[in-house]
Amino acid sequence: MTGGTNRAVVISLLLLLGRAADAAGTAQPRLYDRLGGAAGVAAIADSLIDRVSADPLLGRSFKDSKLDRIKKLLAEQICDLSGGPCRYSGDPMKEVHSGHHISEAEFYGMVADLRDVLKKRRVSEPAANELLRQLAPMKRDIVEPKQAAAQ
């Protein structure tokens, strides 16, 4: 009877220790939390869209567009990508950008603006890099080849 209780206590302690080791070692806070959670992600999306839509080079693709809708969908997408509790409900990136003839220069212009926004919001360098790494593969769906743009 007593031996059984002791064994249970030991197992519980071992489990607790294991969890503590996890938290201190390999497991980091989610990228979503490092970006500032819901409020942080919303602010990043707001600032980025405000910036690019007012940019002389990048603004043309946002002309006459409902910016609030883009901000909401971008926040949702970043939340989804960074492990937050959202599911991106917008259309695929290729469809969204099709016909806008986005150039490489415009793509990298927006990346630079995002870097600036993250820096201003005091997001750590590793967290910023991780977010950009998540977004980078979208380039092939956003930038349109020159032949298509010439049509």
């Binding site: 567009s65 409902k66 259309d91 469809e95 016909g99």
Partner: protein, 215 residues
């Protein structure tokens, strides 16, 4: 039972003969009715809609089609008037996508439009005013007036709206998206003689609200 069947049959024949006589009479007695729309505010009366509702019965339904294109982030045309049962196709002449929607009770729908995507017709099967917008772009707005009558016209920039009408009695309705006050409907009688009807609208192009549709 037999008597009942016979009566129905004769009713049907009498009705057909009546319809035939009516069609003949109409083709003989058709008159051109011109509504001359003027505005008190100096705004062009273009986009004003004129509808003549026959008070003596509607002609048979027909399968009509219409088109509303998307050009430079604008609906073209901005105002359409179609008969109930018309299928409207929404091509997209822009290279970018659009997302047409309506929350109007007469027809609510959402349609994703990509450049070169198949043009599916949307059936407008209830009378009333349908207001269209684009989920993606601000300032894209269009109006579709769906009416049971086949007799309607849209005013030109100079305010002329002409309809070829069979003789008979009609209710004349008028609407403009930016009219300040609702335009009272009136009853008119049409004969073979050409008829000219003056109509004055108070239109405010800055008006943010859409004029009430005259049911």
């Amino acid at each position: 039972m037999t008597a009942l069947l016979n009566r129905r049959h004769s009713d049907y024949r009498r009705h057909s003969a009546g319809l035939f006589a009516m069609i003949c009479a109409q083709s003989v007695l058709a008159g051109v009715v011109t509504v001359n729309v003027t505005t008190v505010s100096g705004v062009t009366p273009e986009d004003a809609i004129i509808v003549f509702d026959p008070l003596d019965g509607l002609p048979p339904a027909a399968h009509n089609t219409a088109t509303i294109d998307q050009i430079n982030k604008r609906f073209m045309p901005r105002v359409s008037v179609v008969r109930t049962g018309t299928g409207i196709t929404f091509p997209n002449s822009d290279h970018i996508r659009h997302q047409v929607y309506s929350f109007s009770p007469a027809k609510s729908f959402t349609l994703k439009l990509y450049a070169g995507s198949p043009k599916t017709a949307v059936l407008f099967d209830h009378p009333g005013l349908v207001v269209l917008g684009c989920n993606i772009h601000d300032n894209m707005v269009a109006f579709v007036a769906v009416v049971d009558s086949p007799y309607f016209a849209k005013a030109t920039a100079s305010g002329v709206a002409s309809v070829n009408l069979p003789a008979g009695r009609y209710r004349l309705r008028a609407w403009h998206p930016n009219s300040v006050a609702s335009i009272p409907s009136r009853e008119i009688a049409v004969s073979a003689a050409p008829l000219s009807i003056p109509l004055s609208l108070d239109v405010n192009s800055e008006s943010a609200s859409v004029a009430v549709w005259p049911e």
